[in-house]
């Protein structure tokens, strides 16, 4: 009897834990990393559900969690679909954590030519696409017109082409109280935007299986951008001041005049348009030192993890979600919802060129919003001029290496050449470790 009790207790404990991960039904499609905050998501999921009424789509709400995803893959219990930053998915593709979509794309007659080349490059590994790009974000300059005019400068003339002129303009635009900034003249957005500054100076940080963090042109870009910060009170004060900005509110730094100009992700234009529609800004491309517009592309993509239970259903889902017709339906739903709330619709920037063309021809309804009127043509024009940091199995470590290098310069711990030489060594070690070359 006692033995029975002991066995029962052990079984209870053990099976109690085993019962947490129930086997999903045959027609269940589980996603990870995808939320449904607005019609862009809900309307597209509705399109799939309408076309596949027998499929039980289970949207695991919430942002992508790397730890959760990798644990699920390692435990042999991955979701059917994963939605994450393309940079991250490119790294997973290189490590074999997500499946090639070559067969999926062929069977569903997906025209990969419709997708923006840069976005597709981020999820392509050894010539095979491993994810289908979703949204597309580019980086451009947003200039605060009243502030720049008040300093006696022409907002249209403010550019990143002539670095000496930019440094001088920064000095004129910045307002300092001792070493405490009261207005940022120009925020170079480093370390995050280092790939853009390096590209503007003629260098790709990652080329094939090589990194070029200690390239003299990269060091020069680091020196220039960190010097811009130094001129504006130094990193500690500069960042503490920037941290006070109400980025998503009606009293953002453009409205309060606490910022004159900065490069920024294109999604911010919609935020500005919605929260401060009357703000007077110039939207211009970021240019290299020869004056040619350049931009870095980012965004999310859909992929199918290794070991997914329903790869065929997953393929059907991601091709539906990124299809031009689906995007147009979602954009229309979004526009109508905003119209009901009395707000303008600034368009939807996708990684599907055909979808964008139709959305901005058939659906776009800026409603006289001047931020949108100035911004949208610029964003559209930049989409096909974008570059990306090439995918690498050590992507996270490479970013960590160069951001760490720039941070050491910003905080005064190392000069630029020494910091980037160390970053180069760290990046090379990371690449050697993962067998990335």
């Amino acid at each position: 009897m006692r033995v029975l009790v002991v066995v029962a207790v052990v079984l209870l404990v053990v099976t109690g834990c085993g019962g947490l991960g129930a086997e999903p039904a045959a027609n269940a499609l589980v996603t990870m990393g995808f939320g449904q905050p607005d019609e862009h998501a809900t309307a597209r999921v509705a399109v799939f559900r309408a076309a596949n009424p027998d499929v039980d789509v289970r949207i695991n709400e919430g942002a992508f969690d790397e730890q959760q995803f990798l644990s699920a893959v390692a435990a042999g219990d991955p979701p059917d679909l994963v939605y994450a930053e393309r940079r991250k998915l490119g790294s997973y593709a290189a490590r074999g954590a997500v499946l090639s979509l070559a067969d999926c794309v062929r069977e569903h007659h997906v025209d990969l030519g419709q997708f923006r080349a840069a976005a597709l490059r981020q999820v392509t590994h050894r010539g095979e696409v491993h994810g289908l790009p979703d949204f597309s974000v580019v980086r451009l300059l947003i200039v605060n017109n009243p502030v720049v005019r008040a300093a006696g400068l022409d907002p249209a003339a403010l550019s990143t082409t002539d670095w000496t002129a930019l440094a001088e303009a920064t000095d004129r635009l910045a307002v300092l109280d001792g070493n405490r900034p009261r207005r940022i003249g120009f925020d170079p957005k480093v370390p995050e935007y280092l790939p853009l500054w390096a590209k503007a100076n003629g260098v790709d940080l990652v080329r094939g299986d090589e990194v070029h963090l200690d390239d003299p042109a990269v060091v020069e870009a680091v020196r220039f951008t960190t010097d811009l910060v130094r001129r504006q009170g130094g990193w500690a004060s500069f960042k503490a001041f920037r941290d006070t900005f109400d980025q998503f509110g009606a009293d953002n730094a453009y409205v309060t005049g606490r910022l004159a100009a900065m490069p920024m992700d294109s999604w911010y234009l919609n935020t500005l348009a919605a929260n401060s529609p009357d703000v007077d800004v110039t939207v211009a491309p970021f240019t290299d030192r020869a004056g040619t517009p350049i931009t870095e592309s980012s965004g999310q993509a859909w992929a199918i993890p290794k070991g997914a239970r329903h790869p065929d259903l997953a393929c059907r889902f991601l091709t539906t979600m990124t299809n031009a017709d689906t995007w147009v339906l979602a954009a229309t739903a979004r526009r109508d919802a905003l119209a009901r709330a009395g707000k303008p619709y600034g368009g939807t920037f996708t990684a599907n060129r055909v979808a964008d063309e139709r959305i901005f021809r058939e659906v776009f309804a800026p409603g006289g919003n001047r931020v949108l009127a100035r911004a949208v043509p610029q964003v559209l024009a930049l989409q096909d001029k974008a570059f990306v940091v090439e995918p690498s199995p050590a992507a996270s470590e490479l970013v960590r290496a160069w951001e760490g290098g720039v941070n050491r310069v910003l905080t005064g711990r190392q000069p630029p050449d020494e910091a980037m030489a160390q970053a180069q060594r760290e990046a090379e070690r990371a690449l050697d470790r993962v067998g990335g070359r």
Partner: protein
């Protein structure tokens, strides 16, 4: 007699069984697994590959391990004494609260209930060097506060300041200990002409030294594993490089990033065992010191 005792022993083991099974399955098992994993190269996507002690050798020469360990020990050295002093002060005040003691006990303990992530978000605002409330307070007294959240020199002191938010949990323990110090000892001390300071030093402190010792050990172990608040404040969901250099790179943050950003589970396991050894050594030193400085009731002094 023997039979009854054996029966009781069996019953005892039976009651312990759920814990034993849980310990073996969820603590000892994973620990042994991580010990084995620490001798492998494992990225969670391919099978582990045995590499002997390479991970430990690398940890000994990894600059970031040295930085992270220094940051962690520095934080611990500031945090633990500060926590003890503030909690003791709070407990002393609570002791004098009289009728309102229950209310104030609740008020002092309430901050402990704040989720760490919310706490971190709140303190990012409070500690802001430009318009944070803490610098505003210092400004009233004529001080210009530092950039607590962006100046590498002030980041760890800022985190220590934030950690005092939860001093209430330790204060409640001290309050319980203070009420157990026999009143006649204070009476005797007063009759001998002892000043309040001497009473505190010779009566109160020895009387609650057991509790202080306990909280010092527990707080030390917790601060050597500090993670959530610092990660939320300085590294964030994007897994970016902290913009403040490595000033907030604590040991467990480095371990976590090696595991889940660089996918180096073997190396991260070796780091975990390294921390285990550090904690064991620090605790052993504390145990050793306790023989000299900690007094328990009923012991000969």
């Amino acid at each position: 007699m023997v039979t009854a005792s054996r029966r009781e022993a069996r019953a005892g083991w039976l009651f312990l069984l759920p814990w034993v099974v849980g310990f073996l399955a969820f603590t000892a098992g994973p620990m042994l697994f991580s010990l084995w994993l620490s001798t492998t190269r494992y990225d969670m996507l391919k099978p582990p590959e045995h590499i002997g002690l390479d991970n430990y050798r690398e940890a000994l020469t990894d600059d970031r391990v040295a930085t992270a360990l220094w940051n962690t020990l520095f934080f611990t050295a500031l945090h633990v004494p500060a926590q003890v002093v503030v909690a003791l002060g709070l407990a002393a005040l609570l002791r004098r609260a009289g009728r309102a003691a229950g209310f104030f006990r609740t008020v002092v303990y309430l901050p402990v209930m704040t989720p760490p992530v919310a706490l971190a978000a709140m303190f990012l605002l409070l500690l802001n060097g430009q318009n944070g409330a803490i610098n505003a307070l210092l400004g009233w007294f004529g001080f210009t506060g530092p950039n607590w959240t962006t100046d590498p020199v002030w980041i760890k002191p800022g985190l220590v300041l934030m950690s005092l938010w939860t001093a209430g949990s330790t204060a409640v323990l001290y309050l319980a200990a203070l009420t157990r110090v026999p009143a006649e000892r204070y009476e005797a001390a007063r009759l001998d002409g002892a000043s309040p300071w001497r009473q505190f030093w010779h009566v109160t402190l020895p009387g609650i030294s057991g509790t202080i010792y306990f909280t010092a050990v527990v707080n030390t172990i917790a601060s050597l594993q500090v993670f959530t608040e610092a990660y939320t404040m300085f590294f964030g969901a994007r897994g970016k490089e902290s913009a403040e250099g490595d000033a907030a790179l604590f040991y467990v943050i480095h371990l976590f990033r090696e595991a889940f950003e660089s996918l180096r589970m073997g190396y991260a396991s070796a780091l975990a065992w390294g921390l285990f050894v550090v904690i064991a050594v620090v605790t052993a030193v504390q145990v050793r010191l306790s023989r000299r400085y900690v007094h328990y009731e009923g012991e000969r002094s």
